[in-house]
Symmetry: C2
Subunit: 126 residues, 2 copies
DNA sequence: TGAAACCACTTGCAAGATGCAAGCAAAATA
DNA sequence: TATTTTGCTTGCATCTTGCAAGTGGTTTCA
């Protein structure tokens, strides 16, 4: 049987370079992932909450992104209410550490893209 | 003839929401655009320089991204040397304002993605 | 307890984006 | 002027995205 390391390498699409920016983009360099993170920062916890965001993420994309974020340790699942079988999503410490990225993007958008407005303040600490 | 505003609206794919994060992602929410910005911050100015980066961006993608960044005012073209017909790319003020975004992503990658390393410091001012 | 509503997805498919290799004309260099 | 370099474009196979519809488990409420 193949060593575990090679199995992991087959599952992961392989890094393009050791650059931390390139690595980050391998994980969330697309049109939707950081919007899911934004929603989590804003307090969304359930599948339907993300779907309800104004950008209207397709449900198959949302499923895929949540799964990738789970497997990369950026989000985790916990019971939605005690005794419930339903799960809710929330940021891990690794995910919460993306706040400065979101904040920088928000600030840039507000400063340079006309007609944008922030619904809520992104707080520094979780 | 149609008013200029509607022509612009036809050219742009239309904003998903007024959220500054969503707006930013409409412009650079993909696997390559921010790597081009990173290279510009690191001092790359010519087409071949971007191609030579370790991630190996395909030339058709690079053409497309540079064009989009030009038309959105993030980069501009100036003569490469005086008297030369060749042009070089460089960040505008709007583009240079993306430094904090890149810096936040670099910091996150360094902190949370094993095996990443920064080639150079991203300076605060241009 | 049973029926209805809700929730969190999955599936299928069309359209668009990406990746690769090859080609090409203008500009620079020898 | 001949050669090389540069900055692209083109064609095509593959992967990703977006939309709509469907599905099965969970919760709610009479």
């Amino acid at each position: 049987m193949a060593p575990l390391e090679s199995k992991d390498r087959a599952a992961m699409p392989a890094r393009r370079s050791p650059c931390p920016v390139a690595c980050s983009l391998d994980l969330f360099g697309d049109r939707w992932t950081l919007l899911v993170i934004r929603d989590l920062i804003l307090g969304h916890t359930r599948f339907k909450d993300f779907v309800a965001s104004p950008e209207g993420i397709p449900t198959n994309i949302l499923s895929d992104r949540l799964e990738r974020l789970l497997s990369s340790g950026v989000v985790e699942q916990v019971p939605a209410t005690e005794g419930s079988k339903r799960l809710m999503y929330r940021l891990t410490e690794k995910g919460a550490a993306l706040r400065p990225v979101l904040k920088a993007m928000r600030d840039w958008g507000l400063a340079w893209e006309a007609g944008t407005c922030a619904a809520r303040e992104i707080k520094r600490a979780s």
